[in-house]
């Protein structure tokens, strides 16, 4: 039944005060974007540690966009902290020879419809060019 199989998967971590509402606004405008995007609501992007991103890549995501509210965040320190974590995730990605463009930090506001679409489309285009993530070690296969 799975028709999305084989297409690159994008994980979007979207904050409730920013990107997630931006995604909702995009929905309210009924604008089309590729369906290989999986949006998870998060309170604040500072909650994730670098290893989380690496695990997500391992699990089969080919691109990750963190959509937070940047400096408009209701959480003090969220933006600085997130930047630090993403930077150290980049270090880990370098080691594993993962294209750094696969992880993107974007400031998306609650009504940022255009920027939201822009980020999704850009990532999608990028993944179309560089192809799915080739892991040095085979991705963990689910056993069910």
């Amino acid at each position: 039944m799975s028709t999305n199989e084989g297409k690159p998967k994008i994980l979007i971590l979207a904050t409730l005060s920013g990107g997630y509402r931006g995604a909702d606004s995009t929905g309210q405008s009924h604008l089309e974007y590729p369906p290989n995007t999986y949006i998870l609501p998060v309170m604040s992007a500072a909650i994730f540690r670098e290893s989380f991103y690496l695990k997500a890549f391992e699990r089969g995501f080919d691109g990750i966009i963190v959509m937070y509210s940047g400096t408009d965040s209701p959480y003090k320190g969220e933006s600085e902290r997130t930047a630090v974590i993403v930077n150290s995730a980049y270090e880990l990605m370098k080691k594993q020879e993962i294209d750094l463009r696969r992880l993107k930090l974007a400031a998306i506001c609650t009504v940022c419809v255009r920027p939201f679409l822009n980020e999704v489309n850009k990532m999608n285009e990028l993944l179309g060019q560089i192809g799915p993530l080739q892991h040095k070690t085979p991705a963990v296969q689910p056993v069910r």
Binding site: L11, G27, P35, L40, M43
Partner: protein
């Protein structure tokens, strides 16, 4: 039923998940094959029951969940429906009604983020919906019951803005027995309403109505008013906002008999804001006669402290060295009633500033006011005004690419709602003051929508106001008339009521019916973390579900801060805001969501990393414990001060601290589940 007994005996042992997929009356169901999604999900481990339903949010939909919890022993609920911002609360209370902890439910957005954005691609949308739900189910397996954080709430509200909406909401909150502090940036109450001459639909004198309202507010013992006051810092959360307010001094204390003299000796002349610059005032002045508070005030920005006024005033009445004072307030909720400002046309926009005979509708109000700069005579530049053209939609209904953008690059693409009826009501007033004047009304659409407003339109016709209709793409031209002409200006309109022909209107005065813009309150937006919408007015959560609340708990909107409104609508919105504040604070206690940091005592070894990085004051402390004779340090959370930002969770070397409801292991499980195989199904889509 043995199942039930088991689930009650060991509720956290085995997750029993109920899955519900809402069709949303076709909003989701027309794109996502909801029935199939529900059937597929029913095959996942721990899923006890799985349904697709037309409207999950309806009573039958909610009852379905309740029945499953009660009868099938469901102890985790996953719902795929519209945005969680709309109905998370709805379903939480349904789950709670069934006796289950309301946080054992997870909401997946299938409408705004699936069906509405992938309508051209139903197959992939269905696949995505299934995976998103699988993620939700994975999270559900990890969810734990949470208890909301209960906080004492100050039975005290702050209203920011002393215009009609602020006054009205302060009055309504106070009448409910709560304390209210009302602060107003300027030195008098009433806002723009004080500047209007008449108000529709009753054609009453605006200041008479306003005075009545202010008197009711002043008579209310629960209300404290500070004028010249602004918020400078905020802290805290719903129920307990700590707010620092700075109040500019008036410099003048009370009334004294020779006020006129004190004003007369002041050497400074400034344009009078109250008259929209149509007259001047001194640096010691009164906004208008009868304003509240009544005493004179010093315009500190322009006062040179020459001391002339001090010399004539009685001893101690004027103090030019008075300092601003700052004070703190603790309030449970805040009403933002920061109001609007009239749109300021760009230079040359329909002759604005290019020709002195072009004024705004707001200025016309002052011009026709008996207490205005011309004492109510319809004079301009010392001559009686004979012929007037009123042009609608100046600064409203603008179109990108057609209208010149404002300095910030925006155009006002909204209707300002009040200008049509206001123009009609002013036209009637012109007719009263100048019975023989020719009045031309140049409009796009006449929007006299409200109760009694159409009467104004009809009466304007009867008063022989001539209407002409223009299209936004062909803005009327305002130009200087020939030297020989007996009217200084000529307006050229491509009139669509006259077969699109260009009609020339010789006039003495052009009135631009300027629209509404929100008052610039970037400082408050930053401090309170509320957000403006695309139109730059403050944004409500949802126009119908929560029309006066902002996304920040405890901050509500009243009046034109939210969008263009007339006085009646501002007062209604203010009442609605007061209702929300009263409901929030009347119990003296507010509940906060339990999404705060929690420490796993097993794992915490007191590294102190979290405290080092925690951006919130007094949210985390390192405490020393003694247990079984062993002394050790451990992080302790103060829930009221923790906002759940999760910085601590990201830095803890031992993964000992996490945000309740948003745990890292939950996220990891979701990521796994989303990328998992979808269970096969016979007769698959």
């Amino acid at each position: 039923m043995p199942e039930k007994d088991e689930s009650q005996a060991k509720p956290r042992e085995e997750p029993r998940i109920g899955v519900y997929v809402c069709n949303c009356g076709g909003n989701i169901g027309n794109v996502v094959a909801c029935d199939n999604v529900a059937r597929v999900l029913g095959k996942l481990p721990n899923v006890v029951t799985s349904h697709s339903h037309m409207f999950m949010c309806s009573d039958p939909g909610q009852n379905l969940i309740i029945d499953d919890i009660k009868e099938k022993g469901v102890n985790r609920v996953v719902i795929g429906a519209c945005s969680l911002f709309l109905h998370e609360q709805t379903f939480r209370s349904a789950v709670e009604r069934a006796g289950l902890n309301p946080y054992l439910y997870y909401h997946v957005g299938l409408r705004e983020q699936v069906s509405w954005v992938h309508h051209d691609n139903p197959k992939e949308a269905t696949d995505k919906a299934t995976r998103m739900m699988m993620g939700g189910i994975a999270k559900a397996r990890y969810m734990r019951p949470l208890e909301p954080v209960r906080l004492d709430a100050g039975k005290h509200a702050l209203v920011i803005g002393g215009g009609v909406a602020g006054l009205r909401s302060a009055l309504d909150i106070a009448r409910r027995g709560l304390q209210v502090t009302l602060i107003e940036k300027s030195h008098y109450l009433g806002g723009h309403m004080a500047q209007w001459e008449r108000v529709f639909p009753t054609h009453q004198k605006a200041r008479v109505l306003l005075k009545e309202l202010i008197e009711r507010v002043l008579a209310e013992p629960n209300i404290t008013i500070h004028t010249g006051a602004q918020v400078v810092r905020t802290q805290g959360y719903v129920g307990n906002f700590q707010i620092k307010i700075r109040q500019e001094p008036r410099g003048v204390h009370g009334a004294f008999p020779n006020e006129q003299e004190a004003v007369a000796v002041c050497p400074i002349k400034q344009r009078r804001e109250f008259d929209y610059g149509l007259s001047t005032r001194k640096a010691i002045y009164r906004a208008y006669n009868g304003c509240v508070p009544e005493s004179l005030v010093i315009d500190w920005e322009n006062c040179t402290k020459c001391g002339e006024c001090v010399k004539v005033a009685p001893e101690g009445m004027i103090n030019l060295n008075e300092e601003a004072r700052e004070f703190d307030l603790k309030v449970g909720a805040v009403v933002l009633a920061t109001g609007f400002k009239p749109y300021e046309p760009l230079y040359g926009e329909m002759g604005w500033k290019e020709f002195p005979e072009v004024i705004t509708l707001a200025q016309l109000h002052r011009l026709l006011d008996d207490e205005g700069p011309s004492d109510g005579k319809f004079y301009w530049n010392g001559h009686p005004v004979r012929d007037v053209a009123i042009i609608h939609c100046v600064g409203s209904r603008q179109i990108e690419g057609v209208h010149r953008p404002q300095p910030d690059g925006n155009v006002n693409n909204y209707c300002s709602r009040v200008c049509c009826t206001a123009s009609m009501s002013m036209a009637a007033l012109i007719r009263q003051k100048a019975p023989d004047a020719k009045v031309y009304d140049i409009y796009e659409d006449i929007r006299t929508y409200g109760r009694g407003h159409e009467d104004y339109y009809r009466n304007a016709g009867k008063e022989q106001v001539t209407f002409l209709r223009y299209f936004a793409e062909e803005i009327p031209e305002v130009m200087r008339a020939d030297e020989s002409a007996d009217r200084p200006l000529l307006v050229k309109v491509k009139d669509h009521l006259t077969w699109g022909e260009t009609i020339e209107l010789p006039v003495d005065l052009v009135v631009l019916a300027t629209g509404m813009m929100p008052n610039p309150v970037d400082d408050l937006i930053g401090m309170f973390k509320v957000s403006p919408g695309n139109d730059r007015f403050l944004l409500e959560v949802h126009p119908k579900l929560r029309p006066v609340e902002t996304a920040v708990n405890g901050i509500v909107l009243a009046g034109t801060a939210q969008g263009p409104m007339n006085i009646q609508e501002s007062c209604a919105a203010a009442g609605a805001a007061a209702s929300k504040v009263a409901a929030l604070l009347i119990q003296g206690e507010v509940e906060l969501e339990p999404f705060v940091a929690v420490v796993d005592p097993e794992r915490c070894n007191g590294s102190g990393k979290c405290i080092e990085h925690c951006p919130q004051e007094e949210a985390l402390t390192l405490e020393t414990f003694t247990e079984n004779g062993r002394t050790f340090q451990r992080a302790v959370v103060t829930p009221a001060n923790c906002n759940g930002c999760g910085v601590c969770a990201g830095v803890c070397p031992n993964r000992a601290i996490d945000v309740a409801g948003w745990r890292l292991d939950e996220f990891e499980a979701m990521v796994e589940a989303i990328t998992d195989e979808i269970p096969a199904m016979e007769g698959a889509i």
